[in-house]
């Protein structure tokens, strides 16, 4: 079976910033076969080990620059000046996964619109609605890869 890794990340004390982690918990609760879920406050370098083992990886994050939920393909970054800190980004992680073994054949980035990043636990109505769309979109990605 195709192994799909879903990584939801963000700060769940910062209202909409935690949307990726809300999606991660929803996907985990759905218990899709072959799907591994990681819920992170931020992307960390050792995630590259999990990514190198996966066939498909889905990054889910809140984004203040997008107006509606969107799914885009994401690719390993160009080799060059990558300043990795205690946290990193999807393109850098994919590049590192390649150095550790292989880049997954498919990688997707799910962006969830965020408007309120103030201290708090609750999602704004627009972000909460986008979370539902993201959960549905990821379920579609899982079905597509498992049916193919």
């Amino acid at each position: 079976m195709v192994e799909i890794l879903v990584i939801g990340y963000g700060n769940d004390l910062r209202s909409d910033d935690g949307a990726g982690r809300v999606v991660a918990s929803r996907i985990e609760a759905a218990d899709h076969p072959g799907v591994i879920v990681r819920s992170q406050s931020q992307l960390t370098p050792e995630l590259a080990l999990d990514i190198a083992r996966a066939d498909v990886v889905v990054f889910v994050d809140a984004n203040v620059d997008c107006k509606e939920m969107a799914v885009h393909p994401v690719h390993a970054g160009d080799r060059g000046a990558h300043s990795m800190s205690h946290h990193t980004d999807p393109t850098t992680l994919l590049l590192l996964a390649g150095d550790l073994g292989r880049v997954p054949p498919r990688a997707h980035s799910v962006s969830i619109p965020a408007t309120n990043l103030e201290l708090g636990f609750d999602l704004s109505p627009a972000t909460a609605a986008a979370v539902e769309e993201a959960v549905e979109a990821i379920a579609g990605i899982v079905s597509m890869h498992h049916d193919s």
Binding site: N11, L13, T44, P45, E46, S85, H87, L96, D99
Partner: protein
């Protein structure tokens, strides 16, 4: 004046301002932290029982440290002595935290400087350049970090914001399967630590100038200590030694930390500047009470590591340092010894059959209204002080974070590096990197020390005596 903005490969936002005198020589330096989060205010009004998981979210880098300090404050609010098995599990999870954090600091963040060179191509001076030059080392560094994260996950339930550490103890007992899995993983972890120590000591002599100029100055050193003089990371009392190894304060109960630690604010940074209070009078500069925390301090405070291989490494470390290590470049060296000690200590804990015992939690209500919880985070001593009402709702919170306590030393380190290498109004890239590397030696986590979150760009500005900006460098 020179400004470096942003500082890279550290956690948070900062900038550096370097002032020149009339002769064009470096006269002063300021490390500014430019983020603010105000986390302590956010905690007021929350139940003390929520605080471990809430404060762990102060930081995604060392959440276990906050969990432990907060849970220990919670233990004290309850007025309980937690079960011995819970103490062992908390110690194991903190050792896992030290391993994963130090592994990232050394292998990912600082090894590119050390192995590829301070003056090497900045485009390749990162983990990918390291992967190209030293692929096995880089891979093993990531595996070591992953092992430490796995320890945290297996005991505390999750790598980040772990729910398993609570006031009163630990949520669940350890299974035999987990115990055996961790014992297996320790073999590679220890080998990686030993090999990294050999690698580091083999190249240390090539960094003679950095050892001399990367924060090499007398200061006090503070950490937790125990009555046996062994390396301590979880419990015990506060101890302070000076640059000659003399004991300046000892046996200070964590709850009395305010008797020895004062906190000064500065107009140009959100990072507070804690200082050793007995050395600073009302009109004195807090610099009179400068002290360092973290791996360097812990190794200066303890008499022995208490485990075989790390004690041998400590003996060589002290020979190379000439006794007390006063150069912040030795933070790297100290981290590697602590990783090795952590693997040995963890093996000892896991060899104890009581570690899988079922009694892992004590239960009680609010029996005290004020408490302090202290633990040793990878970066240094971490304080959580809580005041609660009769229902356990927080009415006041104070946190003193390791990186904050290293604020004055980081300033002195940057000044020393600037004086050693800057000559004239321009800053070559290699010198800029040395200034950053001087800060990176402390492995600062500004996200929680300022109670802020974000990435860590840096600006360096070079300013003339009349205030004119001579040059400015930005990165990140």
């Amino acid at each position: 004046m020179v400004v470096i903005d942003p500082v890279t490969r550290i956690e948070g936002h900062a900038k550096i301002t370097i002032a020149l005198d009339d002769a064009g020589s470096v006269s002063d330096c300021r490390f500014h932290v430019t983020e603010f989060r105000g986390f302590e205010e956010f905690c007021k009004g929350r139940p003390v029982w929520e605080m471990p998981s809430l404060t762990a979210r102060t930081c995604g880098i060392c959440p276990v440290s906050h969990l432990l300090a907060s849970a220990k404050a919670g233990d004290a609010i309850m007025g309980v002595k937690i079960p011995d098995t819970a103490v062992k599990l908390r110690r194991i999870v903190n050792l896992g935290q030290i391993i994963q954090s130090h592994a990232l600091s050394f292998f990912h963040l600082s090894a590119p400087d050390l192995l590829l060179g301070m003056d090497s191509d900045p485009a390749a001076r990162n983990v990918f350049g390291l992967m190209a030059e030293e692929p096995e080392l880089a891979r093993r560094g990531i595996m070591l970090r992953s092992f430490g994260q796995g320890v945290i996950e297996s005991i505390a339930g999750r790598k980040v914001h772990s729910p398993g550490i609570l006031p009163g103890g630990i949520a669940e007992q350890m299974t035999e399967e987990t115990r055996e899995h961790l014992i297996e993983g320790l073999v590679d972890a220890r080998k990686t630590a030993e090999d990294a120590l050999v690698l580091f000591t083999g190249m240390l002599d090539t960094f003679e100038r950095e050892v001399r100029a990367f924060g090499s100055f007398p200061s006090l050193f503070l950490s937790l200590a125990n009555d046996d003089g062994l390396w301590e990371h979880y419990d015990g009392h506060l101890k302070v030694v000076d640059a000659e190894g003399n004991t300046v304060a000892d046996g200070v109960a964590p709850s009395d930390y305010r008797s020895i630690i004062g906190e000064a604010g500065r107009r140009d940074s959100y990072l507070k500047s804690p200082y050793f209070k007995p050395n600073v009078g009302p009109d004195d500069d807090p610099l009179e009470g400068i002290y360092r925390v973290g791996p360097l301090a812990r190794l200066n405070v303890c008499e022995r590591m208490g485990v075989t291989a790390a004690d041998e490494a400590l003996t060589e470390y002290r020979e190379r340092a000439g006794g007390v290590a006063t150069s912040s470049f030795f933070y790297h060296y100290a981290r590697l010894i602590e990783i090795l000690a952590a693997t040995e200590r963890m093996a000892d804990h896991l060899a104890d059959d009581t570690v899988t015992g079922p009694h892992v939690r004590a239960y009680a209500g609010v029996n005290q209204h004020h408490a302090v919880g202290v633990s040793e985070a990878p970066r240094g001593t971490l304080f959580h002080e809580y005041q609660v009402d009769e229902h356990g709702v927080l009415t006041d919170v104070n946190m003193i974070i390791a990186t904050g306590q290293n604020n004055l030393p980081m300033n002195e380190t940057v000044l020393q590096i600037a004086k050693e290498w800057i000559d004239g109004p321009t800053i070559p890239e290699g010198i800029l990197n040395r200034i950053e590397a001087g800060i990176r030696a402390y492995d600062p986590c500004l996200s929680c020390s300022t109670h802020a979150i974000g990435m860590m760009p840096l600006v360096v500005t070079l300013v003339a005596p009349d205030g004119e900006v001579v040059s400015e460098v930005r990165r990140g």
